[in-house]
């Protein structure tokens, strides 16, 4: 009996082969099957056949009871290009970046480091309310940023200031946001380090963790529809990867075929919570295949490894409209924030190891030195110069007034609702009588 069956399920071909979804209409003699021999075939639906027919999985039967053992003893290997002394291990993996680019990488990381030191100190002195440093993770920022186009959209978590630094976000604007002064493009509304820049395609940071992940996927979908040839990159930590939003984002990216790079900074801690209390599987990279996502684990302190992985992920994500997951292993040398003292939960020796023996800045410096592109004198001069630049911006930021209190009320909606305008007027009247009790002298009139 001729059986004409419209396959109810669109069959997904193997990754790396054609991306076209193949709808199989099986009739005896149909050419479709012959043409699709490289693709996984849906079996003819017949009760005589003993193969599995379940729409939910493409697999063979097995008659031996066996649980899959999760492999956490030797997990997904860590891709690196340089050793801890900054020497290239496998020359064919050297990206051979031009000198200017490598110097830009180095200067971005060191300038960030300098800015971090000064702003951390300024919080301790009560000049700004809060700060988060990027110590130890600078390589993850600049390595990935350097591999992207300048117009690729960035969704961050809060420890990616190096991406902005690499994109030449001015020190003045970093400081303006931390001080909440009149130059802050964010209009003083958020805590320090919640940067955003439309021009540099860096979506404003928000405090809730992992919320940016499904958002980044949506943005990638829109970029795909617009044929923008743009990738979206989404940064998050290994702690944030435990949030439901991360699961949602991964699944949507895979099912909706979005050109997105998920970049996980696995720095060993989520505030005080070590990775052994954050997950029990093989980190974040091992989750990717569970969603059908191409995944890799890299040495996050190796700028070239980060660069190579991001570069290739970008190329393929855009060309093939599929997500890529990069888990960059690194270490959070600093405290979680100025509200944290990490000596309460980890040893100073552990921190020192990473600071001295495996730091992205040192490793790149060794590379630069071995290339003859840098030396002690330039190092001294640059340190002095970068410190001076930061101090100048810092002093200026501190002197500027805060924005007018009217800006408390705008941008809630695109237009100000009548009731909110009434509240704004009520504050204005209140200040007329009680203004002496408010720090009006620091605010723009």
């Amino acid at each position: 009996m001729a059986v004409a069956i419209a396959a109810g399920r669109v069959w997904r071909p193997n990754r790396g082969l054609s991306q076209a979804a193949v709808l199989l209409l099986w009739r005896p003699g149909a050419r479709g099957l012959a043409r699709s021999h490289r693709h996984r075939q849906q079996q003819q639906f017949s009760s005589l056949d003993d193969k599995p027919q379940f729409p939910g999985a493409s697999a063979e039967f097995i008659d031996k009871l066996e649980f899959i053992q999760p492999n956490v003893i030797s997990g997904i290997p860590i891709y690196r290009v340089m050793d801890r002394q900054g020497q290239i291990i496998n020359p064919s993996e050297d990206p051979h970046l031009p000198k200017e680019k490598v110097l830009k990488l180095y200067k971005s990381m060191t300038l960030l480091n300098t800015m971090d030191r000064i702003l951390y100190e300024s919080q301790r002195q009560g000049r700004i309310s809060f700060y988060m440093t990027n110590y130890g993770e600078e390589g993850t920022h600049v390595g990935s940023a350097a591999a992207l186009d300048n117009t690729d959209l960035v969704f961050g978590q809060y420890r990616e200031a190096g991406v902005l630094m690499y994109r030449d976000y001015p020190l003045e604007l970093f400081m303006a946001q931390c001080y909440g002064n009149i130059s802050d493009l964010g209009k003083g509304r958020q805590m320090p380090v919640h940067y955003g820049c439309k021009e540099r395609h860096f979506v404003t940071i928000s405090s809730p963790l992992a919320t940016q992940i499904p958002q980044a996927v949506g943005a990638a979908y829109a970029a795909k529809r617009a044929n923008a040839n743009r990738v979206v990159i989404c940064y998050f930590g290994e702690g944030a990867a435990s949030e439901g939003d991360a699961h949602a984002g991964f699944n949507f990216a895979a099912t909706l075929e979005c050109p997105i790079i998920f970049f996980c900074r696995n720095n060993g801690y989520a505030i005080s919570t070590p990775t052994s209390e954050q997950y029990r599987g093989d980190g974040i990279a091992a989750r990717g295949p569970g969603y059908g996502i191409m995944s890799i684990r890299v040495d996050g302190n190796d700028v070239f490894a980060v660069y190579n992985a991001t570069k290739e992920a970008r190329r393929r994500a855009v060309a093939e409209n599929q997500p890529f997951l990069i888990e960059a292993m690194t270490y959070r040398i600093g405290h979680h924030s100025t509200s944290d003292d990490s000596s309460a939960y980890r040893s100073v020796d552990e921190v020192n190891y990473w600071d001295k023996q495996d730091h992205p800045i040192s490793r790149l410096r060794h590379y630069l030195l071995s290339q003859g592109w840098w030396d002690e004198e330039q190092e001294k001069a640059w340190r002095k110069q970068s410190r001076k630049k930061v101090m100048e911006a810092f002093e200026q930021a501190e002197r500027k007034p805060k924005p007018n209190p009217n800006l408390l009320f705008s941008d809630v909606y695109q237009e100000m609702p009548a009731q909110l305008r009434k509240q704004q007027e009520s504050l204005a009247r209140h200040l007329q009588t009680y203004g002496e009790h408010y720090p009006l002298e620091h605010f723009d009139k």
């Binding site: 959209l153 969704f155 802050d184 493009l185 964010g186 209009k187 003083g188 509304r189 958020q190 919640h194 955003g196 820049c197 439309k198 979506v203 404003t204 928000s206 809730p208 919320t211 992940i213 499904p214 958002q215 980044a216 996927v217 949506g218 943005a219 990638a220 979908y221 829109a222 970029a223 529809r225 617009a226 439901g244 939003d245 699961h247 949602a248 984002g249 699944n251 949507f252 099912t255 909706l256 705008s410 941008d411 809630v412 909606y413 695109q414 237009e415 609702p417 009548a418 009731q419 909110l420």
Partner: protein, 392 residues
């Protein structure tokens, strides 16, 4: 979730007059008594399932927007979505089961017409749906997300309240997700119980930065939904599911807008102001007739339409005139949106009030199944509250 929704839809269909015809056929065929045979007790009102607690009152055919067509609520939604996707090439519709037409048929035909990249299913994950929608909107494209039942919007609460609502403010207007609209079936349906009947507008009323809109009819729905989609702020559009088939009227085929944050006085009156939204508007309309007939009382009936930002001026102007206010909603009394209206009105119109403001709402319980007829703020409860206000 899809199974329950299909069951819900199935039950809705059974309620229709067709069920009656079905039973009558069996009577004549002489089947054994008791087997699929409507027994005498079915005639007993206590056994028979309840009829609706409201009567949908269509508005007169609109003349100013061109040719009209009779549409029920889900068809008017489809029409609005069709107009949007036609006008705006960036617009996309997504959510659970929207591809085949949706569990309430709101998206029927749209995937075929506009393509699978524009009308598509997402995995079963509300926080993902809304987060994804925000991301689309951040790039400037128009995102129309569907949450299958308002009862399931809570996983997306963080994305709505902490992200969507605050996107523009926190970024200093560098970024926004104004082109996001979330649509969701809302309100009691006769048998929906805890998780297919909720009216969660009060949770979102407390969240500056979003708009919450609830239509009472197909004509209102299309105009309001189009306004939400075009509005430059993230909007939640709740669709009274009990009206999807029950409410039908003439609706313009072409797009048109009904303004947001504007309440509508659908009937003028002088003695008492009645305020409601969604399905409940039809309940209070009937209460207004009852009041006229039995008490000689003239009611001003207001459909609030937008919950936030709400039209304080129209409601206050009315209460200044009448001196009495009754607000009614299905959602539980405590912390329900009637509290906000009541509080504001007593601040603005204190000296005009002739009686305490009355709120006739659902009880402070989860929404029950078998007890629904007792739970809902029906016309008798509203009428009784009105009577007490008049006699205060």
């Amino acid at each position: 979730m899809a199974f329950v929704a299909a069951a819900a839809g199935c039950l809705l269909r059974l309620r229709a007059a067709g069920a009656e015809r079905h039973w009558r056929r069996f009577r004549g065929v002489g089947l054994a008594r008791g087997f699929l045979h409507p027994s005498a007790t079915v005639e007993d009102a206590a056994q028979r399932r309840q009829v609706a607690h409201f009567t949908f009152q269509p508005d007169p055919e609109p003349r100013e927007y061109g040719q009209t067509q009779k549409m029920n609520l889900f068809q008017s939604i489809t029409s609005a979505l069709d107009n949007s996707l036609a006008k705006d090439p960036t617009a996309v519709i997504f959510g659970e089961d929207v591809a085949f037409g949706g569990v309430f048929r709101c998206t029927v035909g749209l995937r075929d017409k506009y393509g699978k990249d524009r009308v598509f299913n997402t995995p079963l994950c509300e926080q993902g749906i809304v987060g994804f929608g925000i991301g689309i909107a951040v790039t400037g494209a128009t995102a129309i997300a569907e949450i299958q039942f308002a009862d399931y919007i809570f996983p997306a609460f963080d994305q709505i309240v902490n992200e969507a609502a605050k996107y523009r403010y926190r970024s200093g207007d560098l970024f926004n997700c104004g082109s996001l609209t979330i649509r969701s079936p809302w309100g009691c349906v006769g048998h929906g119980a805890l998780y297919h009947s909720q009216s969660p507008e009060a949770f979102f009323a407390h969240c500056p930065g979003i708009k919450v809109v609830i239509p009472r009819s197909p004509f209102q729905a299309k105009g309001l939904l189009l306004s939400c989609i075009e509005d430059k702020n993230p909007c939640i559009f709740f669709e009274p599911k009990i009206l999807y088939r029950a409410a039908a009227e003439q609706v313009p085929i072409e797009p048109y807008n009904i303004p947001l944050s504007q309440a509508e006085v659908i009937q003028e009156g002088s003695d008492v102001t009645l305020v409601a939204w969604g399905t409940q508007v039809h309940v209070i309309r009937e209460v207004a007739s009852m009041a006229k007939e039995k008490l000689g009382v003239s009611c001003e009936v207001i459909d609030l339409r937008t919950i936030i930002p709400w039209d304080v001026d129209t409601v206050c102007k009315s209460v200044i005139k009448t001196g009495r206010l009754l607000i009614s909603h299905e959602a539980p009394l405590t912390g329900g949106f009637a509290s906000e209206i009541s509080s504001t009105v007593q601040e603005e119109c204190f000296l005009n009030l002739e009686a305490p403001i009355s709120r006739v709402c659902g009880y402070d319980t989860p929404f029950p199944h078998i007890f629904e007829p007792f739970y809902i703020p029906d016309k008798w409860k509203c009428y009784d509250a009105l009577r007490k206000m008049i006699n205060y």
